[in-house]
């Protein structure tokens, strides 16, 4: 999974953009970022996926970042099953990986196009989660790491923000939606402490508690302004400048820290050890390769049938682990 050791092998089924040189190791891509944009039309739902691939390097560490955007999600009059193309896409990536993994002669390093994290933007209504949010989150939390955020948080005052956040947390609990970091995947006591710090919500590097800050209230900006002699990313209005990286204004730093600085690897690990494994077991059960036994996981098929009630799930760790763990 080490980015530096990734060998190239663009998936043959993915349409390649003319700008991507065919087969090359990432080391030859170069220092400057390579921006590719691929548009894949989703199945008849009236919205498309925008997939952007960029390679970033920082202090000798290269990261190939793929961002999949879903413009149009939830915009239609009838949004029934609008989550299906997204679930389908996620499962497709698992499938792709699985196909590579079960080959007799397989590559040293399987290209990983699986979704490691899904950021879900909750509109700042100030009330509670909408029916659409609940339906979507219930389904997606079972197949991918979901990080919900309160979007456009600059339309909520601090009190409104807190009230909204606690209502959302209540909704998530009531509907058994387990967002990232999931409580049941804390591997040991250290993880539990670390993650409960995140859940309790305090600035990461400042310690101690990060609890109950999820969902983070974020504001995004790509323009810089001069504030007190410093150049900051922010949004300029007639009544002030919203500084994106100022913890007093919004929680963007928490999100950035979570996604990039501290939990990047964990996101990949959970995807590989939990979500992918669940998918794999389900597929193997489906094709009757595995006999039904103690390790059999009862998971509703992801893309087609919506689970009647999201139930607790057992997790099977990697095949070569000696013990099965349950959560």
């Amino acid at each position: 999974m080490d980015p530096l050791r990734q060998s190239p092998s663009p998936c043959s089924s993915r349409p390649s953009s003319p700008r991507t040189p065919p087969c090359e190791t990432l080391g030859y891509v170069g220092i400057e970022a390579v921006l590719d944009q691929l548009k894949i039309k989703a199945m008849k739902m009236g919205f498309e996926f925008n997939i952007m691939v960029v390679v970033i390097e920082e202090k000798g560490v290269k990261l190939k970042l793929t961002v999949t955007d879903t413009p149009g999600f939830g915009d239609q009059i009838n949004n029934d099953k609008c989550w299906d193309p997204i679930l389908g896409y996620i499962n497709e990536q698992y499938e792709r990986y699985l196909q590579e993994e079960i080959l007799i002669t397989r590559q040293r390093h399987i290209p990983d196009t699986r979704m490691h994290c899904c950021v879900y933007f909750v509109p700042p209504t100030g009330h509670c989660l909408r029916p659409l949010d609940i339906e979507f989150l219930q389904r997606l939390c079972r197949v991918v790491n979901v990080v919900p955020v309160i979007a456009r948080a600059d339309s909520l005052t601090l009190e409104e923000r807190e009230a909204f956040r606690s209502r959302i947390q209540h909704n998530l609990r009531t509907h058994c939606i387990d967002v990232y970091p999931q409580k049941c995947f804390d591997e040991d006591i250290n993880d539990r402490i670390l993650n409960s710090k995140i859940r309790r919500g305090q600035p990461f590097h400042l310690i101690p508690c990060l609890q109950d800050r999820i969902p983070f209230a974020v504001v995004g900006a790509d323009q810089e302004h001069l504030v007190n002699g410093r150049c900051v990313l922010g949004r300029k209005t007639k009544w002030g400048i919203v500084e994106v990286e100022n913890m007093a204004h919004c929680e963007f730093p928490l999100l950035r820290d979570l996604l990039i600085r501290s939990h990047l690897q964990d996101l990949k690990d959970i995807t590989h050890n939990v979500h992918y494994e669940n998918y794999r077991v389900y597929r193997l059960n489906e094709s009757h390769v595995l006999p039904r036994g103690p390790g059999w996981v009862n998971l509703a098929p992801a893309p087609t049938d919506p689970p009647a009630t999201p139930g607790p799930w057992k997790v099977r760790r990697r095949a070569h682990d000696s013990s099965d763990e349950e959560c």
Binding site: D75, Q76, I77, N78, N79, D80, P123, P124, T125, G126, H127, C128, L129, R130, P131, L132, I134, E135, A151, R152, D154, S155, T157, L158, R167, N171, T174, H175, R235, K236, T237, K238, W239, G240, I241, V242, E243, A248, H249
Partner: protein, 368 residues
Amino acid sequence: IDETLLKMSKQQPTQFINPETPGYVGFANLPNQVHRKSVKKGFEFTLMVVGESGLGKSTLINSLFLTDLYPERIIPGAAEKIERTVQIEASTVEIEERGVKLRLTVVDTPGYGDAINCRDCFKTIISYIDEQFERYLHDESGLNRRHIIDNRVHCCFYFISPFGHGLKPLDVAFMKAIHNKVNIVPVIAKADTLTLKERERLKKRILDEIEEHNIKIYHLPDAESDEDEDFKEQTRLLKASIPFSVVGSNQLIEAKGKKVRGRLYPWGVVEVENPEHNDFLKLRTMLITHMQDLQEVTQDLHYENFRSERLKRGGRKVENEDVNKDQILLEKEAELRRMQEMIARMQAQMQMQMQGGDGDSGVHGHHV
């Protein structure tokens, strides 16, 4: 006599001349009389607000009329929202200002846009609007027309989300469904989340989309040529700012040494009544100076449209394309009953009149 009057008016154009002056008829005083009567009678206005949950509709209405129209409001939780259909909630409040009474009815539409499938989300709303027209038509065709209560919707504020890129399919569909029934005033909600540039871009986008889909929104009438320049300028400004991007609040915040209504953020205070911050004042001005016009357009255009359609259909309320014969029969019977009741009432009234006028004989039709 017309020529003398004309000559008189040319000599003394705008001032009230001494009633003792010959040739003065005095009907120039009519507007004052109308004004006094109107003030005594009071005004009625029905405003409908439509938009997704969480766009600040209730806050804005409370801010506009400096009142709390929803004192016992409970915002439904997520589970309830899943189950709920669109409701119609009408709250009436009597506001008085300098002796002028306004009976304001605000029709709220909770549940609009909440469901995952919003296909049927505006049926309830359209039925409500039609029902008010229907009721007015019925009252207007009745015998006692002195106290007709006008509950027709005079104006609909349609709240557009500032978080999108313009109109959504639901916005377009809804506005097209009601633009021939009610005056639509599109409003961009929660405008404090937009920078100036974003606001301008969004307004332009919305106007383009409105034109593209042939949506008929309410157009402010141009100022008359004889109005003063200030009024003309104000009208121009108002017209140029549509759709209004507003922020609502009834909280008093300390800003620049004085208390203003606004929203307090860590990065600054958004003042509701500051024209540089948002269009709240423009919206309020528009509503107040054009309340009369909104009522007129409702009466002369939307209601008349409804009425002619209705009467053309022959008094039959056709809901679907396939008309149920039994239903027609029932309706005809109801109509007959109503007619009979009306006749009975007319007879009773005539009897009373006879008895009242003719003190001697208490018996109708008998002459001594």
